[in-house]
Amino acid sequence: MRRVTVLIRLKETVDDAQGRVVCQALKDLGFSAVAQVRIGKVIDLWLEDADDLEQTKKMVAQMCQVLLANPVIEEFEVWQEEGSQR
């Protein structure tokens, strides 16, 4: 079983209202160093028969394109954490 993590972010050109509000809340709490916050999504996938890492990444990218991300507003990154294969 291989665990692959997908990171989904709003494109930089898309306004993130949630991120703006959280940024303000952090500032109000005294974290004055916070300049910007943007909020995305993390999706963990557990895959069977995924020995070929390149092949697996390609397949997960395909999943992102058809369902997990909306390419109009989002971009994605596929992560394979070191040593996560069991």
Partner: protein, 237 residues
């Protein structure tokens, strides 16, 4: 005329739509469960509001893959009239039958309130009985209604007259304060390139009786029925 009202798990405006077109307007209608694949008995498709699949992942993202959506796509490609309301609009966008995407409302709140929308294009099958610039009072009820598209797409939509409704104030002025969710260019409703698929965030079925405070939604239903009765649909099927 027979309406097909598509029902997904989580749709919740299906019965309101059914009530308006059958009891209010004397048309035939049936519910179409999302697993169905044959809609050949249907004259116009309605994608009602609600929270299909609990809005999981993104609004409309899962509903798009329901078996019935292939039939809806073919129906639209053949020129059939399709109207998506609220979650129905979000599904049409996820299915790429309309351009753009939806974001969380700019104010981050679920907004359930009356809005005013201006008819920007009355040369569509859904607005043909309206006057140009007519202001309709129709309520919204959504958390993810902030329409987004890149500038090039927005410019193209403007140029082609595909923005059908814009949020406005009661006098018809399109202002920032009349925009309830931060939608790009105050967009409340859009049509596809061939002019037979409309998506709109406000709920005309909730504004189709004096008892509910507005009958302005009837302009849309009556336009749709009139268009079907006079031409069958926009594109010959």
């Amino acid at each position: 005329m027979r309406f097909g009202i598509i029902v997904f798990p989580g749709s919740n405006c299906d019965r309101d739509c059914w009530y308006v077109v059958t009891q209010g307007l004397g048309q035939d209608a049936r519910f179409v469960w999302h697993q169905e694949t044959d809609i050949s008995d249907i004259d116009a498709v309605m994608l009602p509001g609600g929270f299909s699949y609990g809005d999981y992942l993104r609004v409309g993202a899962i509903a798009r893959f329901s078996p019935v959506m292939n039939a809806v796509r073919r129906f639209a490609e053949d020129g059939g009239l399709v109207i998506g309301i609220c979650n129905g609009f979000q599904i049409l966008v996820e299915a790429q039958m309309l351009p753009g995407a939806f974001l969380r409302n700019a104010g981050l709140r679920f907004r359930c309130r009356p809005t005013f929308i201006r008819v920007e294009n009355n040369a569509t099958p859904f607005t043909v009985l309206c006057r140009p610039g007519q202001v309709l009072q129709i309520p919204i009820a959504h958390a993810d209604g902030r329409y987004y598209a890149d500038e090039a797409t927005l410019n193209q939509l403007e140029k082609e007259g595909r923005i059908v409704f814009r949020y406005c104030d009661p006098s018809g002025q399109v202002t920032e304060s009349a925009n309830p969710n931060g939608s790009a260019r105050n967009i409340a409703g859009l049509i596809n390139e061939t002019g037979n698929v409309l998506g709109m965030m406000p709920h005309p079925e909730r504004a189709s009786s004096k008892l509910l405070g507005s009958e302005d939604g009837l302009w849309i239903w009556k336009s749709l029925i009139h268009s079907f009765q006079t031409c069958g649909s926009v594109v010959p099927r």
